[in-house]
């Protein structure tokens, strides 16, 4: 017996095992490098711009010889909250209900078709949603608007919310559904009073992730929201948004604005990272099962 365990083959297995372990750890580290680099670099460049003024003031015009700081990005923060908030208002009910349908009525051909469409939609480049919104809304009403941007983002958010809702609902044990069905509960009642409450935190996670994803999108906003240097609450006119502002400011010849672009980028990273971390905490303390 002894002989077999310490034989040549055994030693080879141990060696291969170690080699593979080292390789996987290495691959993990390599894949994490860009993330760390981005966060560190953006923080390094952007953290200097952060100030109370940066967060509470709007754009201030710059002219040569003027030592202006370029004001703040409040108008972009407000714009992002309004645009993404509104698209969340539309996307959450649609996505959640579609997810319920996919999970609770999985077998039929309609749900197969819908699932395929949702997958295609989630793989679609975000600019396509923006261009579509441009053609269908902006060209029609002949005005750029936060609303058109919201619609472009809805297209982006719905598949994320749909798929996470579906996955989470699948985790609800079938035995719980059977318990209710065997008591004579109609299907809608079972879904509403038994299945949904058990999956609530997971669904909230999906919604938050979709929010984080949409908050960072630039492309669909470029052709729909346009950008606005003034603080506005009007969803039906051109607005400003954080990613959009970051993009526009990098094109400017002014050092101050370039610097502010880094500040806006850093702010976005903090928001997106913050939401993701929040989600982690949320799901750890209240597991869906």
């Amino acid at each position: 017996m002894e002989q077999r365990f310490v034989g040549r083959r055994y030693r080879r297995r141990v060696l291969v095992n170690r080699l593979m372990l080292i390789l996987t750890v290495l691959a993990t580290i390599i894949s994490l490098v860009p993330l760390v680099l981005i966060i560190v670099y953006v923080a390094e460049q952007g953290i200097g711009s952060l100030s109370i003024d940066f967060l509470t003031h709007t754009f201030r015009p710059i002219s040569f010889g003027n030592a202006s700081t370029g004001g703040g990005v409040l108008h972009a923060i407000v714009g992002t909250v309004i645009i993404v908030g509104f698209s969340l208002l539309l996307a959450a009910p649609i996505g959640i209900m579609a997810g319920i349908y996919l999970s609770e009525y999985p077998g039929n051909s309609a749900s197969t078709a819908i699932r395929f469409c949702v997958d295609v939609l989630s793989a679609m480049p975000s600019i396509v949603g923006g261009v579509t919104a441009y053609v269908l809304i902006v060209q029609r009403v002949k005005s750029f608007s936060g609303f058109a941007g919201s619609i472009a983002l809805v297209v982006l958010m719905v598949p994320i919310i749909t798929r996470t809702t579906e996955e989470i609902l699948r985790l609800v044990p079938q035995s719980s559904r059977e318990a209710a069905i065997a008591l004579g509960a109609p299907k809608w009642r079972t879904t509403l009073t038994i299945v949904l409450p058990m999956a609530l935190s997971g669904i909230a996670t999906g919604v938050l992730l979709a929010f984080a994803r949409a908050a960072g999108e630039t492309a669909p906003l470029l052709v729909t929201v346009l950008g606005n240097n003034n603080l506005t609450y009007d969803l039906f006119g051109p607005m400003q948004a954080l990613p959009l502002l970051a993009y526009r400011y990098t094109e400017q010849p002014y050092q101050v604005l370039n610097q502010q672009a880094w500040g806006a980028a850093f702010l976005l990273v903090v928001i997106v990272l913050g939401i993701n971390i929040l989600v982690r905490i949320f799901t750890r303390t209240r597991s869906p099962r």
Partner: protein, 271 residues
């Protein structure tokens, strides 16, 4: 009901007094026949046990009796099941109505997570929109019938999953009893429980049969012998689908089975 007499090995009481009459029922999963045509009468306020080897369609047959079979993808039934003369497979009958009269207890205790003990019992009543005071009384009544009241009376607001396995199963029984069904189907209710918890469930079954008809699927032949008045033996036929081989009073089934298959199974020669 001439079909019932067709299999000479089926010696159940006459269909006239029966609570449930299975009349030419064939069960399918998709195109596959899972349980071959069955004709059988289930006597009222008696315990009928279904025994047989794994995969012979015991659970499928049981689940078809309150139309739970069709909730599985591909699950399909042909034929009739008469509950006091009403065909529960009649297109005009809502399966919801059937399931309120015929309760069910599953193999794995399945109390609802994130719900308290009291809520677990009253969930079936909530579906009917029953008032609060009435609900409290019903919860107490159901828990007492399930012999669980004394153990949980001072922690009704604690989660149902905090109970032990045996208690959870009695909680599920209480949940089924709360809606006052006239018939309860049990799918190996004690197979996940220890011997003492099993004994308690068996005692309960004997008590409940005073006013409820019970059909119980069990792997355990001793259990069938202990709790049931009638026994059905199912086995796979040569086409690979399940079917009832023999049925009759438990005492006769276990002492003088007519079929060779039944005898082999009961004496432990297979299964």
């Amino acid at each position: 009901m001439t079909a019932i007499a067709a299999n000479p090995n089926i010696q159940m009481p006459p269909a006239v007094d029966a609570h449930l009459v299975i009349d030419g029922l064939t069960l399918y999963y998709g195109q596959r026949e899972a349980v071959a045509r069955t004709d059988l009468a289930i006597p009222r306020k008696q315990v009928t046990a279904i025994i047989g080897p794994s995969g012979c369609g015991k659970s499928t047959l049981l689940r078809s009796l309150n139309r739970m079979h069709e909730t599985v993808p591909g699950g399909r039934a042909e034929g009739r099941v008469l509950l006091d003369g009403t065909n529960i497979y009649d297109p005009a009958i809502d399966p919801i109505y059937v399931r309120r009269r015929i309760g069910m207890v599953f193999q794995q205790p399945n109390p609802l997570r994130a719900r308290t003990i009291a809520e677990n019992v009253s969930i079936g009543l909530e579906l009917d929109g029953i008032g609060k005071r009435e609900k409290e009384a019903a919860v107490e009544r159901a828990l007492k019938r399930a012999a669980l009241w004394d153990e949980v009376v001072d922690r009704l607001d604690q989660p149902g999953v905090a109970l032990s396995g045996g208690q959870q199963q009695r909680l599920c029984l209480a949940r089924a009893l709360a809606v006052e069904p006239e018939l309860i189907l049990m799918d190996e209710p004690a197979s996940a429980l220890d011997p003492i918890a099993t004994l308690r469930i068996e005692e309960l079954i004997r008590e409940l049969m005073n006013d409820i008809t019970i059909i119980i699927v069990t792997h355990n032949m001793q259990q069938a012998a202990r709790v049931s008045d009638y026994t059905m033996f199912m086995n796979l036929n040569d086409r690979g689908s399940g079917g009832v081989v023999e049925a009759g009073p438990t005492q006769i089934m276990f002492t003088a089975p007519k079929s060779k298959q039944t005898e082999d199974y009961i004496t432990g020669r297979f299964g």
